[in-house]
Subunit: 573 residues, 2 copies
């Protein structure tokens, strides 16, 4: 089963995952770390997995939920990680036997929070997941399922690690959410989906924490925001602590099966059970839903950027604050060099108050800096719960460092239309997700709107041919200073041409008025003309009240409502 076959399969019918392992082993009296059973009591694992196979699952999960090095260590398990994971695959394969069931390597959290929330570095987490994934892959799993993740950054580390092991293995990536549709780290379902739509995985899902009746509304959001097939594994009810200290889940197999129909109705492609579900829950669910075909979903057609905790749609207009920019500011540059990010934090909060949707981050002269400045800057802003970022970075290596650390869907600012630059951008967009600012130039800025337009068109075609859809691109038609006798109308005309071609556009507004008196007046007027021709975003000075006002005003004149979301009848499969 390669990825293409896997995705094709998902069109045919509803697929089934298995149920709980922990709660089943506990029922049988086992109170230790369940992954040790892969060494100490293979038969107990086999029996449960055989029961799930008999219940009719399509995907059997390996008993390796906690079997990463860090988690095993904190659980004080001394068995070899290789044996635990290798055995798990072997037992699962044995339980499958000759049946048409795929084995998915099960991976979950290290139990440690990644920087900036905790001490664990992204690279360490990546290595931990890669180590476990490699064992599972070598042992013969058909795919991976990452589940019960509550930190989007840890999920991202796991995804990158597993995908680096194989370009052609299916990956299902699931997070767990509270009743308010947010993970405990503050990431919403929409933010989760907005990033995972870009990442190189196959199915986006939600599992654990909630019983079916509570999970349904959370899952409905995923169904609206995910552009990939979706999976779900609810718990079998709310956990209840018994007098003997054990935890039971009260949703009966019959009730569970009936609830699961609702998930299929709103578009689930893969369904299974999490904590408290038994082979009987799964058996009844399979019996009840096995002849169902996946439902077509209506998904939100709009584009979003996000930080860990903040989602921002592009339309009708994206306001990108320009102030975190050390270029030409000696004191600010010095602070950054010394890793004093207090000014960045101050400017972030100031611009958010002034109405920015996104913060552009430009650390100035990059020769003065190293990779750590970029990771620290990104993590500092993540820690204060900042707005989504536009990473305004020249050096490829620094851009990759920032993107790696970034939590959410950023703007990659920017690439020229030169082939080698586009190839870099394609690599970054595919690996880390995000939107791209594409400059309408190669080595020098063309004089005419037509030339700028043609360069953009050609570059967009190249990006599309390489798997980057045009809705991930913001074309920058280039604003030059009026003071340098540059005709601002060339930019306006380029926007008009690009807009008619269905391309989104973004400008760096303030360059227009460089060196001129009453800059705000020029900026505001020019922005009106650009928005009138279809401009979608601008990096600007949010302290300019007239400039901010004009965005509101021009949108109203164009009959655009700021709150409106467009839902297209688009089928994501």
């Amino acid at each position: 089963m390669n990825r293409k076959e896997f995705l094709q399969m998902l069109n045919e019918k509803i697929y089934f995952l298995d149920g709980a392992y922990g709660t089943e082993f506990f029922k049988k009296g086992f109170k230790g770390v369940i992954e040790t059973l892969n060494i100490t009591d293979k038969e107990m694992v086999f029996d449960l997995q055989k029961a799930y196979v008999d219940a009719g699952v399509d995907f059997l999960l390996t008993n390796t939920f906690s079997a990463n090095r860090l988690k095993l260590k904190s659980l004080k398990v001394s068995y070899d990680i290789k044996d635990i994971n290798y055995n798990a695959v072997k037992i699962a394969k044995k339980a499958v036997g000759q049946r048409n069931v795929y084995v998915l390597g099960d991976i979950s959290s290290t139990g440690f929070l990644i920087e900036p929330l905790g001490e664990l570095s992204f690279n360490e987490a990546y290595d931990v997941f890669k180590e476990q994934g490699e064992i599972l892959l070598n042992a013969g799993v058909d795919g991976f399922i990452i589940e019960t993740m509550s930190d989007l950054k840890e999920l991202k580390a796991a995804i990158l690690a597993l995908r680096d092991l194989s370009q052609d293995i299916p990956i299902i990536a699931q997070m767990t959410f509270e009743e308010n549709s947010k993970a405990v780290t503050g990431t919403s379902v929409e933010i989760f989906a907005s990033l995972l739509n870009d990442l190189d995985i196959d199915v986006i899902g939600i599992n654990c924490t909630l019983e079916p009746e509570k999970l349904l509304s959370v899952f409905r959001e995923l169904a609206q925001y995910s552009k990939k097939p979706i999976s779900v594994e609810p718990n079998a009810g709310k956990p209840k602590l018994q007098r003997d200290g054990s935890i039971v889940y009260k949703t009966s197999p019959e009730k569970f099966a009936i609830y699961m129909e609702d998930f299929v109705e709103i578009g689930a492609n893969i369904v299974g059970g999490c904590c408290g579900t038994s082979p009987e829950h799964i058996r009844l669910m399979v019996e009840f839903l096995k002849n169902r075909k996946p439902k077509k979903r209506k998904i939100i057609a709009e584009e979003f950027v996000s930080s860990r905790t903040k989602l921002q749609k592009i339309s009708p207009f994206l306001i990108i604050g320009e102030k975190i920019n050390a270029a030409g500011k000696k004191k600010f540059q010095e602070k950054i060099k010394n890793k004093d990010f207090s000014k960045i934090v101050e400017l972030a909060s100031m611009q958010e108050q002034e109405g920015a949707h996104v913060l552009d981050v430009n650390l100035g002269i990059e020769k003065l800096l190293d990779k750590s400045h970029f990771s620290l800057a990104v993590n500092t802003l993540d820690k204060i719960g900042s707005l989504p970022l536009s990473l305004d970075i020249q050096e490829f290596e620094f851009m990759e460092e920032a993107l790696k650390e970034y939590v959410g869907r950023p703007i990659i600012n920017s690439s020229t239309a030169k082939k080698e630059k586009l190839d870099n951008a394609i690599y970054l967009l595919k690996r880390y997700g995000g939107m791209l600012v594409l400059l309408t130039m190669k080595d020098k800025i063309p004089e005419t709107a037509k030339e700028r337009f043609e360069i953009a068109k050609e570059a967009v075609e190249y990006l599309e041919k390489n798997g980057i859809k045009r809705n991930r691109i913001l074309v920058d038609p280039l604003v030059l200073p009026v003071g340098a006798k540059k005709d601002p109308n060339v930019t306006v005309k380029t926007i008009e041409l690009l807009s008619k071609e269905g391309l989104m556009t973004s400008i760096g507004l303030s360059n227009l008025s460089f060196g001129m008196p009453n800059r705000e007046a020029l900026n505001a007027s020019f922005l009106t003309l650009c928005i009138d021709k279809g401009l979608n975003a601008a990096i600007l000075n949010t302290s300019e009240k007239c400039t901010m006002n004009t965005i509101f005003g021009t949108l109203v004149l164009k009959g655009k409502e700021l709150a409106k979301q467009e839902i297209l009848k688009e089928d994501p499969l």
Copy 2:
């Protein structure tokens, strides 16, 4: 000689007026009121006039400079005004004899200031001039010359009175200016010209106060701003008080004649002499310049509005303050009804400080008011030296009252495109001068830009056919409230169409955002779009900083310099 013949004549050669009367009679020992000589010593008058005819003048002035009822009264002359004026014409005609010389009835100030500068009413002044003019006309003058006026309002009263006596008699209208190119009442040469270009007279001129070398630069301004033939009569030098109490003028006839060539060089059509000039001055001047043809002038092609003391060019954009508007404001309306104009004065000064070029004046519900409210409002604003006014008045009778009292070139706001309204507008524009706001509607507002444009085009053609040039028209393409689901783009498109047709446009901006939140944002953005399409003026809220800013910004983007004046090679004759 009718007006058409008179104007044709002026193309052929330089025409000559006579010189001084008073200083010549004084030389001969006469110390009284010189107009009494028309009764007491006709021969003395005849001799001087004969000398001027012999000197080669084309136009001989009647000896009636002070011969209006009010001036004669204050000079304590008890002879009948009819006899003085009648005799003057007869003496002049006798002096002309069979020569090809025209007799011009000479008219000057009453010696009293008109409201609001003095106590004399406009209507009284009008009657005084009409009375004198009628006697002169009946006695057989070939035309009128009004001279040495220092109050533009008194000049206007004289012009209206004389023109009302005959539609077909030539009128030369002259004011007198100080070295700073301003009359003692504060009116500049440009303001004088901007109004007299509209009024129904034939030649605009300057006389008295200054000797040729000082008058030249003042006259050069008239040459640039007058769209009609121009005349000039300098004094023969600076007056010097002699030991015996008499006044002498020291510029010799030779010097005077040479100086006068400079005036011809910058475009004078009619030249003569004022105080201190003698028949010998005139004789030498005629001899020296008689074969000259009038020079073609380059005149300022721009349009201006003005108050008594403030001139404002329309281009690149005219900012009309909206605040003096009692409509819907109960307290303000009550004050106006009670003739308490303190609020109007306060709003005038506030808007001027905020950057208004013109003040719109709307006294609210006109049924509550009578004519005196309008004359008082106009005079109150004149007295404080206000900006030019846009008279926003519904009732024809009230509009005419305001226009009559107004000093300068106002905006008549407004007329629909209905024929009877246009006929009223044509009457007012021809009689009182000014620019017209022409609404692109007849009985109701058309939905489309094309309909609005066609209505305007047809109305402009009608106005042009009736002698109102299109540069006196500001077409208002009508702004409707966005809040009432009206598409603002219709207005923008109408502006574009009108602008391409070479028509100037003006809007009432604030109507756009009526009832909406953040009105300034809407107004500013919309104004940018309109200016971008060529809008020339707007009535707006000058307290809106963003709206004011956007005017500056959009003009810079369009490459327009606020200080630039365009001079066209247009021949005014």
